[in-house]
């Protein structure tokens, strides 16, 4: 049992959803942040609205680790339903703050834990007048208790409460009163015997802010010039479009006239939302939809159409645990392969893979440029962890580049050309030119269809024409390899490397540091997009063993690499998978790598 340092532990708050614990959890998180200490909250919630178990983990570390930690140091147990299983999850030497009334028996009784029983219900009953509010305020009491136990000053807590209830200031006092009850009770009845402390830090969190990936992506849509959005609600993607709506209400509406420079439609389903996006993209608007796994399945036919008819579209897939309806409030990276080749027949799409808040914003913005440039659907794959959790991030940079609308011919352009063909490969990059409906020129019009067509967009069933069309699409896809965001490489000439994409990144950061402490050195490549960049093959060529880390069952990126990499590189790849629905943590990488690296000989795939 290692003695934990100050500012280096994880708090888990176990409550019941719909009980308002969310605000107290955020108050706590914010208070710690205000101490200058890096925090990473992970909300693990159920797929219903009220009454089921929910857990809120607050990871605290001087190294500013952003991934989930498997080791729970301090449990706040406020859910009788999970009491018996929550306590065993606490790490030896840990602390349990709990409702005093809970039964102390069975696995709950451990001699390696410190227990702080608090009569939450009774305190609330005595000091908070009855009514709906009481249920919520009970949670504020625990904040007070922790403040006292961990050493957060009432001032800090109050500041953070004010931040939380900006919109309704009168709530501040009632909540602070509840916090006060917790502090008072702890002062009076608890003698701290555990080592966990919080100490103010400097230089760790300066200028940082909290943001979730869905909001960052929504900001990317605003700054990327998205003018048409069509969506259908689905967890965990709903808040992306809802953030976009909120931002547009603020920044896209003319205050005088009320005229809106955007159309956001809640469609009747995903078949319609993608249809609206493709119709809008065809008509020249930058259009997007946001969904999750089930929606991607329903969009298969239209996405295949847009690939073949060559229409820009941006599709956000905030991944949840699949297959099927799966676990709507859990996270996975299991739509990668499906999205990459979505649609029947031979198809291949551009897929962007953000890992951070900055990238959620940047890639969202870039997706519209790529969609216009390549006249094709572009997927942006987030996951529930990135999309819905609050992450500490640098403020997002104002874009300096203008929109790249790609190869669009205006009436003036057409005047200069005596002829043009919608699907001609003029530049040899596989990317043809298009005109937008409404272009005032007799030659502007062409016919868009999902059936066979020649370079002039005329219907054709001729074998050569068909094959030529398919081959050009391959050319276009290859052009994209060097234009999509390149992989991020960290190399120090080590023979072993880790390869990953998306949110696995944060667990890898911690894992590599800990592996280093254990004497296992690794290089690192993070893929930011499909199709694969040539740099990646080169990177793998420079390493003997490459561990492909991903959050799905079948090793989907590993599979794509085996398909697409030069054959001689394949034997270097080893698949590391995590797929239980909670975000990957460092151990999921450290354990297999330690085993493999300590006996590289016996490494099998």
């Amino acid at each position: 049992m290692t003695v934990p340092r100050a500012n280096d532990f994880t708090i888990r708050v176990a409550t019941i959803n719909g009980s308002g614990s969310q605000s107290s959890n955020l108050v706590l998180t914010n208070a710690i942040f205000r101490l200058g200490i890096p925090v990473a909250p992970k909300n693990v919630f159920p797929s219903n609205i009220e009454g089921l178990p929910t857990w809120f983990d607050v990871r605290i570390s001087p190294e500013a680790y952003k991934c989930r930690s498997r080791d729970i140091d301090l449990l706040v147990a406020l859910n009788p339903a999970t009491w018996a299983t929550d306590v065993p999850s606490v790490k030896p030497g840990g602390v349990v703050v709990h409702e005093a009334a809970y039964p102390m028996n069975g696995d709950v009784v451990r001699d390696d834990l410190t227990y702080y029983p608090i009569p939450f219900a009774q305190i609330a009953k005595e000091h908070i007048e009855a009514g709906d509010l009481r249920k919520y305020l009970v949670n504020m009491i625990y904040v007070g208790v922790l403040a006292e136990l961990l050493g957060i000053s009432p001032e800090i807590i109050e500041a953070s409460v004010r931040g939380q209830f900006k919109s309704k200031p009168k709530a501040v006092d009632t909540n602070m009163k509840a916090v006060g009850l917790g502090i008072a009770y702890a002062k009076e009845h608890l003698t701290k015997t555990d080592p966990y402390r919080l100490e103010p830090m400097t230089g760790k969190t300066d200028g940082l802010m909290f943001m979730d990936g869905n909001r960052a992506a929504a900001l990317g849509c605003v700054m990327g010039g998205c003018t048409v959005a069509a969506w259908y609600p689905i967890t965990p993607s709903s808040s992306l479009c809802e953030s976009f709506i909120a931002l547009c209400d603020k920044y896209r509406v003319d205050p005088e006239t009320g005229v809106k420079n955007v159309a956001i439609i809640q469609a009747e389903d995903e078949l319609a939302s993608i249809g609206m996006v493709i119709g809008a993209g065809w008509a020249g608007a930058r259009a997007m939809t946001s969904t999750s796994g089930p929606g991607i399945s329903l969009m298969a036919e239209y996405v295949g159409y847009a690939y073949f008819a060559e229409i820009p579209a941006v599709i956000f897939d905030v991944q949840r645990a699949g297959p099927s309806t799966g676990l709507p409030t859990r996270t996975m990276q299991a739509d990668l392969a499906f999205a990459y080749a979505l649609g029947h027949g031979d198809t291949k799409h551009i897929v962007l893979l953000p890992a951070t808040i900055e990238e959620s914003y940047e890639f969202a913005m870039q997706a519209f440029d790529l969609a216009d440039r390549f006249q094709t659907p572009v997927f942006v794959l987030l996951d529930l962890d990135l999309g819905m959790n609050a992450w500490l991030t640098q403020p997002l940079a104002y874009p300096e580049k203008r929109f790249d609308r790609g190869k669009v011919l205006s009436a003036e352009d057409l005047n200069k050309l005596e002829s043009w063909g919608r699907y001609r490969d003029v530049d040899g990059d596989g990317i043809p030119y298009r005109t937008l409906p409404g272009t005032n020129h007799p030659n502007a019009g062409f016919f868009t269809r999902g059936t066979g067509h020649d370079e002039q967009a005329r219907y054709s069933e001729l074998p050569d024409v068909w094959q030529r069309g398919l081959d050009r699409l391959v050319r276009k896809h290859d052009t994209a390899r060097n234009v999509v965001p390149a992989p991020i490489l960290e190399e120090n000439g080590h023979p072993a490397a880790i390869l990953a994409f998306g949110t696995s990144h944060h667990a890898i950061v911690e894992a590599r540091e800990r592996l280093h402490q254990d004497g296992v050195e690794t290089d690192y490549a993070r893929i930011c997009a499909l199709p694969l960049s040539p740099d990646l093959a080169a990177f793998i060529g420079r390493h003997e063993r490459v561990y492909v880390v991903e959050q799905n069952r079948d090793g989907q990126l590993y599979g794509i690499l085996r398909q697409e990499l030069p054959t001689h590189l394949i034997s270097r790849l080893h698949s590391v998978r995590h797929y239980n629905g909670v975000p990957i943590d460092a151990h999921a990488i450290i354990d297999p790598l330690l085993e493999a690296e300590r006996a590289p000989a016996v490494v099998a795939e």
Partner: protein, 342 residues
């Protein structure tokens, strides 16, 4: 009457040839081909700008129609049953476009029913044609959901299932323009088409259009013979374009006059029956009663010009969203700074 006046060029100075398209690849005698010709006349008479016309369709013989008129216009042959969503997106992206959607009964009433209903619910400003032959022509004649109960297939098999009446359905759902016509009745169809163009909102035209190859036999209720025999005209429609100086002459009470936002009018001249095209319940009743009586009512079944269309409801700018630039779309540097400071 306006739509019949002989002219070489139309209101915007274009010849009729401009409104023609590629030669048809449909069967000789297919009702869809006649509809194409009536469309060409209506588009020409109305004076639609070719470059502003968006010809959209689903999949089917009917959905091939957009290739056969206004060659200069942009065409969008989408997916089976999924044209309404694409049309909605296109109209949102550029509300200057005249969106003309062409579908079939299978495309609309079977696979496309959900999108059809929701397009109507949103009152998207689209002229939506159902070229209705009661069967799936392109896949060789299976029944569609608009086949009448008892109507038979070529092999004699009768349809057992309730008909879906795309007009009754639209009216029930709050549609603002619902008409039924017959591919063989240009006199009625051409003015109705122009009225649909003038209407701001979803304009549904259910056009019975016989499939000569698979559904024109005795026993079919969508055959030329059957329709000619059972067609009941609600009124004689007549369209007057805003810009035209035309004096409308009719005895008070002998016609119903409907005025459109752009100043155009449609005059519904009375025939046998009294009919108020602005009475929703009466329209539903008429559709049900006549169907029970084995009649096929054609004409402007229902119209309501007041309801705002989708783009208006969404408070979109007058110009196309598609053409807005960084200045119009990005958050200002100042606002950004404040946003990132919180």
């Amino acid at each position: 009457m306006a739509s019949d006046a002989p002219v070489n060029v139309n209101l915007i100075g274009l010849t009729r040839d401009v409104y023609k398209g590629l030669p048809t690849t449909l069967c000789a005698g297919c009702g869809h081909n006649s509809i194409t010709n009536h469309l060409i006349k209506a588009l020409f008479d109305f004076g639609v700008q070719p470059h502003l016309l968006a010809k959209m369709s689903g999949i089917g013989c009917s959905s091939k129609t957009p290739a056969y008129f206004v060659d200069q216009a942009h065409g969008f042959n989408s997916l089976h049953g999924r044209m309404p969503s694409a049309a909605t997106g296109a109209k949102l992206a550029n509300r200057e476009l005249v969106v003309l959607g062409i579908s079939g009964d299978g495309d609309t009433a079977s696979i496309g029913l959900g999108q059809y209903c929701h397009m109507i619910r949103r009152n998207v400003d689209v002229t939506y044609l159902v070229e209705n032959n009661g069967c799936y022509g392109l896949t060789k004649g299976q029944f569609s959901a608009t086949a009448d109960v008892g109507s038979t297939m070529k092999n004699g098999r009768p349809n057992e299932y309730e008909v879906i009446d795309v007009c009754g359905l639209a009216i029930e759902l709050g549609a603002t323009f619902v008409a039924r016509s017959f591919s063989g009745d240009g006199k009625q169809l051409v003015p109705l088409l122009q009225a649909a163009f003038a209407h701001k909102g979803t304009a549904i035209l259910d056009i019975v259009s016989p499939c000569v190859t698979f559904n024109d036999h005795v026993g079919s209720t969508k055959s030329y013979a059957y329709v000619k025999e059972h067609d009941v005209l609600l009124h004689a429609p007549d369209f007057i374009k805003a810009s035209k100086e035309v004096t409308v002459d009719y005895e008070p009470g002998t016609a119903q006059e409907i005025d459109f936002e752009d100043g155009s009018k449609v005059i519904l001249r009375k025939l046998e029956r009294e009919y108020d095209a602005t009475d929703r319940i009466a329209a539903l009743e008429t559709i049900h009663k006549t169907r029970e009586a084995g009649e096929l009512v054609t004409g402007l079944l229902f119209i309501q010009t007041a309801t705002p269309d989708l783009s208006t409801r969404e408070k979109l700018p007058a110009g196309p969203l598609a053409r807005l630039d960084e200045a119009a779309l990005r958050i200002s540097r100042d606002d950004w700074a404040t946003l990132m400071a919180t």
